[in-house]
Structures are given as C-alpha cells and as structure tokens.
C-alpha cells in the first residue's frame, strides 16, 4: 500500500516542479555562458574558400585583427620559420582524439617531435571512436573545455562551428608558415571551413571509391564498373568463385552493411551519384526549403542496388562490419568493395594482406540517369542535367566522414591556442604528412596536391601502375572531382544519417520495411528532426556546409 503512495507522492511534485521550471522555453545554458535561446548561425557570403576544381592559387585573406590570437605577431615576425620551429616552452596543448593506432599514432609520434623542437608539451587524450562525438560535444557545450585541440570528422564541424566553440583561423591558416595551405586539395579546404570561415587544419581526407582485384578482373578482360548496374554484373560473375586460390568459394562484392557501422556512408556514396550532378555546391541531401531528397526514385534506385548487391556478398552481409569486411578484402576473398583510401595502403601491409599490388581503385560508379528534383523522377543525363558526366555517366564521389581535421578551442589560453595551431600545422605540413599518408597504420589519407607524387607511394611499396591508378582515382577523379559530394555537415548530422537513415536502411534490408515505407520513414524522420531543431537555422547551416550562396 505504501509503495504506491510513496511513488505517487514523490512523483507528483517532481512533475509539477519540472513543468514549472522548464515551462515557456526557459533556457538552461552552460554556466560559463549567458543563456541563449536560439543558435544564430551567421551566414556571410562564402567567398573565402573556393570549392571548385581550379587550383587554389590565391585564397583571399581577410585580416580580422579582433579575432586574431597573439601568435600572429610571432608568426609574421618570423615568416621564414615553419611550424614546429618556434619556442613554446611551458605551454601545454591538450589534444583529444580516438583510441588509435589510426590518427592517434601520428599525433603522438609528431607530438614527441614537436615537443623536442619547441619545448612545449602535447597531451594526447583518447576516447573510444564511437563515443568521441558525444564526448567532445558535452565537453564544449557544458563549458568544461578540457582540451585545446579537438580532432574530429569534418562532418562534425557543422554541429560545432556555428556555436563559437572554435577559434576562427581564416586569417592565420592560409599564410601559416610551413603549412602550405595552397597545397591542400580544395575539397579539404572546404571541409575545414564552415560558412566561409576556416575553423580547422586538415591532416586527412575521406573519399569513397570502389576497389577491385586487378588480377582477377584483368585476367578475364573485365573493365572496372562505371555504373552500379555494371558493379552488380561483375559481382554476380565472381560470386562463389575461388578468388585467392585456397579452394573455398569467395564473394563478388563485400560491402560493410552492418547496422550502426559504416554502411550509411557507403550507401550515401551510392545515393549521391543519382542525386548530385551540378557540382559540389548543389548538395546531395536536401532541396529547396530543406526538403529531404530521400523519398524519390533516386533513393529507390540506391536502395534497390543495396539490396541486390547483398546476393553477391558474404553470408549475412547485413552484419558485415568494417573490420571483417576489410579482412575479407585483404585476404583476397572479395572481387569488389566500396572503401576509403585505406584500401590503397592496407594491401601493402604484410601482416594483414595477401593482395599486395593487385587491388585497383576506380571512382565511385554512377548512373546514366539523374534525379529531377522537381518531380522526384530519374531522367536521362544530358548536357544540362549532367554537365560533369563522363561518357554519359554521372559520378558524384562522396566525401564520407570528410577527413580528420583539428580545430582549436576558442576558450583556451591564447598561448595554448598558438601552440595548438603550430602543432596541428606541423602534423599537416607536407614534411610530416607525405610519408604518413602512404603508411597504413596512421589512418591518414592523401589530402594534398603534392601527395599525388607517385614516388612517395612507390617508396611505400606500390608498383608504378598501382600508384598511378590509385592517385588518379583517389585524388584526381574523386577528391578533385568537379562533382565531389560532401557528407552532411549540419547540426545533428549524425542523427539524420547515422541514426534515422541507418535504421530505415537496416529495416529495409531485413525486410521489416518495404522500399516505399523505408523512404517515407527517412523523409518523415528528417522533416520532424528539422522542425524540432529549427528549419531556418538548419537551412542556413546546410547552405553554409556545402558552400552554397
């Protein structure tokens, strides 16, 4: 008897008082910051960072003295000294990244070098990868500010950059000694920026490609796939064949479709080829008024491919995670897969690979039909609808995850900020990153024009042909592609893609939802989320994220 009473009596006042406390949008802000009721996303005209194919020769620099931290004077005083050559004695830089070795390893290794050169101190703190976003978001939002330098996916920048958490580096980075900003490929310059301002220094890139077995396909005279239909044809041809000579049947295609894994990125890499044709600034995910482009024939085609390819993959491909999928590919058990640039260097590592120099790359396949955004139908490609098409096929290589970048806490001590910028510039500078990107363990992918030099890659163990093929595909056609598609980079991007879209796709693959139901579920989920966050602010953020005007 007294139980019920207990809970009732305790429960009522709680509810009453909470309603009272939270009523009428009472703001609860971080104690260090004044309450703000809405996130104003400033949207200045995007002029600073060109996102086009044109080689970046001159990035307009807008000197903004009020945002410039003390280091400017130092760096301008000695323009000849490059990153890692100044004196930062007694300055500590707290870096947060995920538990390595990838990404954490180069940061720690270069951290020790940088400490020796500058007298500063680098503390690298790691968190499990899957919880890093939440950890950084909580740290920044509550004003804890435990770190000076935050490493992150460039797609998270949309959640953080508009909130004033990070220092504006627009006036510093382009001329920072040793960093060689002009050498960074345009799409990574863009991925390090938000709303026309530079907030981070990139030391990685992430674009998807299709990887294939050159030995197997070459023997049969099969050309790598240009469209997703061709991909299916090739996958079907090799499904059940022995591809590594061990006598067991292998698989035509290995796509890591595990729920909660990397599948949504790869799916969006398929999807983008049906949706985006007019260049990077057209965007992949939303139309006018932030209407999701996910309930139409383009999404339908991508879902059809997703389901069809499961027939030519390992058993229960719906549970294939990235580690297992890459293990299958490098042990020679797959003819095709979709992957990041890791698949360029992983085959070179003898501890994991049996396929050294027989893995080739080809730009993400596309489609001869493109979405008409007005009608939701797929229409044939022509000069107007697909200006960037090659041989009538539209490709939109997808910058999934968008590369690791380092951003600097705006609340940190100015000296530490200067040291952090110097450190991340040191990591990013060609002297350090050029060897790093050719080494599998670092987890870094090429992100600089100078890294297109085959000599680096031949030194790392590639043959000249493999190196040329990889670099032409990865940097030439994909990163520098005129129609490169950017990952979703707006506030709560993770909730849009990695939660709502991911769940619906998983349900579709498992047969819980039909294709139409899945598309409608994503559409409704995205609309509801947008309305919940605020349609105007999200619209502005989306425009800023793709560099559209």
């Amino acid at each position: 008897m007294s139980f019920a009473k207990n809970r009732f009596v305790i429960g009522l006042p709680i509810i009453a008082l909470i309603v009272g406390a939270c009523g009428s949008a009472a703001p609860t802000a971080a104690p260090t910051a004044p309450p703000v009721t809405a996130a104003p996303v400033t949207l200045p005209p995007v002029t600073a960072v060109p996102v086009t194919l044109a080689p970046v020769t001159a990035v307009p620099i807008t000197p903004a003295p009020e945002t410039v931290a003390p280091p400017t004077s130092e760096s301008s005083a000695s323009p000849a000294t490059s990153a890692g050559a100044k004196d930062f004695s007694g300055v500590t830089v707290n870096v947060v990244t995920f538990t390595g070795p990838p990404i954490a390893e180069p940061l720690q290794r270069h951290g020790a070098e940088w400490e020796k050169a500058t007298g500063g101190k680098i503390n690298v703190t790691t968190a499990p990868f899957s919880d890093l976003f939440q950890k950084e978001a909580t740290d920044l939002a509550t004003g804890t500010n435990s770190f000076t330098l935050y490493t992150m996916s460039s797609s998270w920048l949309g959640s953080f950059a508009g909130q004033g958490y990070f220092q504006d580096l627009t006036s510093l980075v382009p001329t920072y000694p040793g960093l060689q900003w002009d050498d960074v490929v345009p799409v990574m310059q863009s991925n390090s920026s938000f709303g026309g301002k530079i907030y981070a220094v990139p030391f990685d890139s992430d674009v998807l490609s299709v990887y294939y077995r050159t030995d197997i396909l070459g023997k049969d005279g099969v050309a790598p796939p240009k469209t997703w239909d061709e991909y299916l044809t090739i996958a079907k041809k090799y499904q059940g064949k022995d591809l590594n000579g061990d006598g067991t049947p292998d698989y035509g295609s290995c796509i890591e479709k595990a729920k909660g894994g990397v599948g949504t990125w790869q799916f969006n890499g398929v999807f983008s080829g049906f949706v985006q044709a007019l260049g990077t600034k057209q965007g992949t995910f939303f139309g006018d008024g932030l209407t999701p482009l996910v309930n139409n024939e383009a999404m339908g085609a991508a879902l059809d491919f997703w389901k069809a390819s499961s027939d030519f993959g390992p058993p229960a491909e719906i549970n294939l995670d990235q580690g297992t999928g890459r293990g299958l590919m490098t042990s020679g058990r797959c003819a095709l897969n979709i992957d990041w640039g890791d698949m360029g260097t992983l085959p070179l590592d003898p501890t994991v690979s049996k396929v050294k120099n027989v893995v080739g790359a080809v730009v993400m396949p596309g489609s001869s039909k493109i979405l008409d955004r007005a009608t939701g139908k797929l229409v044939p490609c022509d000069a107007t609808t697909c200006p960037n098409a090659v041989d009538g096929i539209n490709h939109a290589p997808f910058n999934a995850f968008g590369g690791w970048i380092g951003a600097i806490n705006a609340k940190a001590d100015p000296k530490a900020q200067a040291a952090a910028l110097d450190f991340i510039s040191y990591v990013s500078a060609p002297e350090q990153s050029n060897p790093d990107v050719t080494t599998g363990v670092t987890g870094e992918q090429p992100f600089r024009v100078s890294q297109q030099d085959p000599a680096l890659w031949i030194k790392a163990g590639m043959t000249a042909d493999v190196a040329k093929n990889f670099l032409d595909t990865y940097i030439g056609a994909s990163l520098n592609g005129p129609n490169a598609a950017l990952d979703l980079r707006i506030p709560q991007a993770n909730q849009y893609t990695n939660v709502l879209e991911d769940t619906a796709i998983a349900q579709f693959l498992a047969g819980e939802l039909t294709k139409d139901e899945a598309m409608k579920q994503i559409f409704d989920g995205w609309q509801a989320l947008t309305d919940q966050i605020g349609r105007d602010s999200q619209t502005a953020a989306y425009a800023a994220s793709i560099g559209a005007k």
């Binding site: 968190a127 919880d131 909580t138 995670d321 994991v352 049996k354």
Partner: protein, 342 residues
C-alpha cells in the same frame, strides 16, 4: 564442509548422483571456459591468423606471437598502466564504501523500524527543485545548495511536527533505493557529468568512487538485508541482554555470521565497478580513465582489434580472479557453523 565432527550429511551424494553432478558441473565449466580459452588464444594471434581462418591450438596449427602483449604492455605500456591502477583503486575503494555503508543500512532496515514523514520528503524535494531553479537562474551552485539545506532545516524545525500524519515504512525506503537502478545510465550520465563539473571533480578517482559507491549501494542493501534477516535473532538478543550496544552487536555478532553474504556481495559490487563503461567515459578523461574505456577503444575505424582487446581483457580479469580465489573460502559453511556454535 571442513567440520571433522560431521558424519554423513545431506550434503553427501550417492555414488551415482556424484557422477551426474560431476557431469553437469564439467559441462557447464566447459561452457564457461571455452569462450575464455578462445579469448586467451586470440591474444596470441596475428590479425591475419584471426581473419584468415580458424585455428585452435598454438604451435600445432598456428605459430603464436607475443606481439599483441608487447604492444599493450610495452609499446603503449604507459597508456595501459595508468588505467589499470585507476581501475584497481576505483574498484576496491567504491566496493568497500558500498559494502560498509550498504551493510549498515541493511542492518538498520532489518532490525529497526523507520517512519519517514511524507511531508518532510516533499519539503526536501521542493527545496531541491528550488535550488535547481536558482542555479539555472544564475545563483552559484554552492550558495544555492547551502541555502536550500538551511531552508530545509529551518522548515523541518518549524513545521516538521505537523507533517507526521502520513508516514512511510522500511519497505518504502528499500524500494526507493532499488528504484535508483531502474533508470538506464544513458539518461543520467550527462546530469551526473554536470554535477561533477560543478564540483570541479571531473577526471578524478573521487568522482568515480562516489558514483560507483552510490549506484551499487542499493544492491548491497538488498542482498545484505536478506542475509541479515536469515541470521537467528537469539544471537543478537543474548548480546543485547549482555549490554552490548547495537554497534557492537553488529560488529562482533552479526558481521562474522554474515561473512558468506558479505563476501559474495563484495565480489559483485567490485565487479560492477571494475567493469563499468559509460559513466567512466564521461567522468574520466585522461587521469582517471579506467580499463573498460581501453577495451572499448580497441574498436576503431578499422573495426575491432580483437587481438589487442583480448590482451586487455585477460590482464583486466586477473586481479578479480585472484580476489575470487582468495575470498571463495569465506563463502562456506564452516565459518557460519563455527560462529553460531561458538
């Protein structure tokens, strides 16, 4: 079991039953040990031996390597060492605190009668909410908390006597305690984070110790209540008659008899604190990071690094197993029998 005076008892099985008992126990032991063997094996495999096929016996069908052990213990040894110490400190400290406070409370709830006044609880809640509102409106948290406590105290002094109409009982207190375990941690971890941020205790062992002690207390209270309730009252009554205080009765009569329960409970709360992940992820950043963070961290962009993870899990369970081996002997009948008879 060790009592030499005991003749054939209910605990002696017939030969046929013995065979059956052994068969079942060995079967379950295999169920338990095989996955652990596989884990142990994995810690000696190279990645390609892991993904490339199925290998069961080192030296026979694959060549084991110490690379993974070297990587964890030497190459990144300093990153392993600190969480290891933290886990040990946090685990033992929080389990001890939870056991001491929880046993006291359990004994209280078994042997005394509590009549908390609903009105006082409501007052307390009201003051808490008011303090929270004040904090939201910009009052420093320490000031708000202190004034809430003062106001509560004064209110109880002033009107407390009139609030005695509706009272709760022991079972309500117990139920409230266990209800603290009902909420999934994911919903409360951010508020807990903010709480410790305000106290400037983030990334300290203290924060983890206090949190684990508090979250494990209800389990101690519930389990120990049952163990205490099973103790014959005559023991305590005789002590009471002899003039011993409740504390002394508790310490010298009750606790010794309850050793099996205490040990079992201690092992359980130790293990809970030892293995907790989500709260540690938030309250600890670098200095106070614990081992579960390291284990989970082996799942990165390259997929789970099972070989490193296995090494970490193996070194992580060793202290707990040692504890279990040491403490197991106390979960046995001989001790209780001796205490009761003596």
């Amino acid at each position: 079991m060790m009592n030499p005076l005991r003749k054939r008892t209910v605990l002696d099985l017939s030969p046929r039953a013995k065979v059956g008992a052994y068969a079942i126990m060995i079967a379950w032991a295999i169920v338990v040990l095989f996955p652990l063997y596989w884990l142990f094996l994995t810690s000696f495999k190279q990645p390609i031996q892991f993904t490339g096929g199925t290998y069961y016996i080192p030296f026979v069908d694959f060549q084991p390597t110490l690379d993974n052990w070297k990587y964890i213990l030497v190459d990144v040894g300093s990153d392993t060492y600190r969480p290891y110490i933290n886990t040990i400190v946090v685990g033992f400290a929080s389990a001890s605190i939870a056991l001491v406070l929880g046993s006291l409370a359990a004994y209280g709830l078994v042997r005394f009668r509590y009549r908390p006044r609903v009105g006082v609880i409501a007052l307390g809640l009201g003051c808490t909410v008011l303090a929270m509102i004040a904090i939201v409106l910009g009052v420093p948290p320490i000031v708000a908390a202190a004034s809430a406590i003062v106001v509560l105290f004064l209110l109880i002094r002033a009107v407390g006597k009139r609030l005695s109409a509706v009272r709760l009982g022991n079972r309500d207190i117990s139920f409230w305690l266990i209800s603290q375990r009902m909420m999934p941690p994911v919903a409360v971890v951010i508020p807990i984070y903010v709480l410790f941020q305000q106290l400037h205790l983030l990334d300290t062992q203290i924060a983890l110790i206090v949190t684990y002690a508090a979250t494990n207390l209800p389990i101690v209270v519930w389990l120990m209540s049952d163990y205490f309730a099973a103790i014959p009252l005559e023991l305590e009554e005789s002590a009471s008659v002899d003039g011993a205080s409740p504390y002394r009765t508790f310490r010298s009569i009750v606790l010794p008899v309850a050793v099996p329960g205490l040990v079992a409970t201690f092992i359980l709360v130790l293990v809970f604190a030892w293995n907790e992940y989500l709260i540690a992820l938030f309250l600890a950043t670098a200095n106070a990071a614990t081992m579960p963070l390291l284990v989970a961290g082996q799942v990165a962009t390259r997929g789970p690094q099972y070989w490193y993870m296995s090494v970490l899990i193996v070194i992580m369970v060793v202290p707990v197993i040692v504890m279990a081996v040491i403490l197991e002997r106390f979960i046995s009948r001989g001790i209780l029998a001796g205490a009761v008879k003596g």
